[in-house]
Amino acid sequence: MARIGVFVCHCGENISATVDCDRVAENASGLPGVVHSVDYKYMCSDPGQTLIKEAIKEHKLTGVVVAACSPRMHEPTFRKACAEAGLNPFLCEMANVREHCSWVHEKTESTTQKAKDVVRLLVEKVKRNEALQPIKVPVTKKAVVIGGGVAGIQASLDIANGGHQVLLVEREPSIGGHMSQLSETFPTLDCSQCILTPRMVEVAQHPNITLWSYSEVIGLDGFIGNFTVKIRKKAKSIDEHLCTGCGLCTQKCPVRKIPSEFEQGLGTRPAIYTPFPQAVPNKPVIDKLNCTYYLKGRCKLCERVCPTQAIRFDQPDEIVEVQAGAIVLATGYDIKRTDFFPEYGYGKYKDVIDGLQFERLASASGPTGGMIRRPSDGQIPKNIVFVACAGSRDPAKGIEYCSKICCMYTAKHAMLYKHKVHDGTPYVFYMDIRAAGKDYDEFTRRAIEVDRTKYIRGRVSRIYEKEGKLVVVGADTLLGGQKVEIEADMVVLATASVANPGSEELAQIVHVSYDRYKFFAEAHPKLKPVETNTAGIFLAGACQAPKDIPESVSAASGAAAKVLGLFANDELTREPLVAVVNRMAPPLFSTCIGCFLCQPVCPYNAIEREEFKTRDGKLLKAVARINPGLCQGCGTCVALCRSKSIDLYGYSNKQIYTEVSALLDEALV
């Protein structure tokens, strides 16, 4: 039999000015199941809480209703008070008679009646509350970081320095990402590799970091603190323990004309290769699609020259499962290539290049040794045109967002060009100059004022070839849209930054949501920028949206801080307000009919399939099961369930049905 206590708060005069609290308490004492009902000036004060605690003990209460302010304000306070008196905190409910009653109505009979109704409703609800225990889940203190660009490197180092194990998984043969391809970085013009490669080496040597390059995540199971990550380690065709990275094989390999991915197609590499000299790990892999042995069955020159016999042509891909407590996604971005632009020649003009290609041309370690030379004939261009917003902010191209980094790197490119070709003229076509950031605007002003870059505000409609020159046709909108034609030797398109290929697939594997541009979605755009809506999975860097290096690094450190915060606990405690699928004795097992319509509506992929089998393995019934570690308690599955087999703790069918009925059983107004 229920023994409910009702405690009506005056909140000073906030409630009692318009609600007759005496009568609310008196009315409540007449409700079925209510054994104790009082009013008091300040329930949330110490004496008020003591009043509740003593009443719980004295009257052996099985439920408490506090009629006071919004539960969003003081529910934790009163639940804690109940717990201290030995009553399960989930047997305490609050009736909102301040925000939803006394503050929004005048002092009339109807206002007091409304307060009485709300109390009655909550009394009926609390009678059906269940004593719940917080859910505890253990935490595996190991993180998997996916992507080894600057964000992944930073996140890995921060977590590892915090004393926890990290597995860094990188798709390419080396970590470093796009940052390792850059020549200099804005706004300081310091050399990108000079600041990045020490970090890469630190990753390789850190005792807490395991680095798996040439590997991909192909599956994910589990939930926060308890993930199982399935990783494919692609065959490198070398024994990494034996290989010393001497590089003899890469020198002797007879296949030499493969366009280098690292050099953005401006240089070549052999079939057995390390992407660049400072690669980490600095051990080669064999590109099976181009290796003569894999294509024709003979060659094996590398095997013959290898001083340590490290070549393994028969090495298979390896699939490994790893336990982890948290995951950081740092898969970065890519850029649109020149073939995306029919108006700029579909990529058929060799001297129309993209921003990353220019980075390689300007890089001291690049294919031209840092000299700006035209890819077509190796001449030094005297007139160079940079086209900003190539594809970005252009609904016609399907990319409506600003790629954010192009304004800055275009200014940087113009400066680098001018520093290397003193008699050359750089032109920049732009829509707006977006240079918000520390020392950023000063940097773009320097490109214009000191390095004399000719900025033209307008867009480029067409580029065509005429007598060995590229004619760039654009408009100058500051001169009333006047047509501008520039005969250029080379054109650099600041093409749009886009989500990395494969990011959609990865998002589906790890169950995080992504936006319409395939960038991963954060849990809240302002207040949870590094969390995803899957607990335990965090975002770092440009996989979320276009970001520059400082932003990527700070997001990575933010994600690492979240992981370290998570790993500071041995167990996670969660509110037990989760959905459950009922269970009963065989042969029914559950009223669930196993339609699994609930699975696609769950935003958290918390619904699993549970199979009941006989001893010899014959399937008797498959029913849904909700993983309490993943469930966030939204209840969408509860409303959907056709057989009413799912219920939600805290908002059960019984509780809500009674609330609706209790409200209207008596005269309402």
Binding site: E99, V104, D117, G635, T636, V660, L668, V669
Partner: protein
Amino acid sequence: MDQFEPKIVAFVCNWCTYAGADLTGTSRLKYAHNVRIIRFPCTGRIDFLLLQQAFAKGADGIIVSGCHPNDCHYTSGNFHARRRWMVFRQMLENMGVEAERIVFSWVSAAEGAKWADLVNETVESIKKLGPYHKYQDMAKSLEEWEVTHE
């Protein structure tokens, strides 16, 4: 006869509309007292048969309100609610239930004034429609039928 005071039940989500109604209170905006709020974690939790239950128990009007599209605390619950509502409304119309007695809206945690307006407008429109006994009578006669045929 006394002036008709409609009974209105509001089904609201905890994260947006309940908080929005809290804001109405902290802003001391006044609105009609006819509404009783039932808190749900999310509009996606609302089993629309509960709306029928409310009518059967004598509600004259119903408000369903949650987070704006794309603002759902649980990512997509409000979209599921919206879809269910589209189907449910058609079903109600086919059954001859006055679907205009149900107001479906979005009120965010920052829209205290919108909540007050929503309640006032709903009360006004339900006052014009008058008391709603049809569904209650039907439910009662069904109960009686069940009793006599047991």
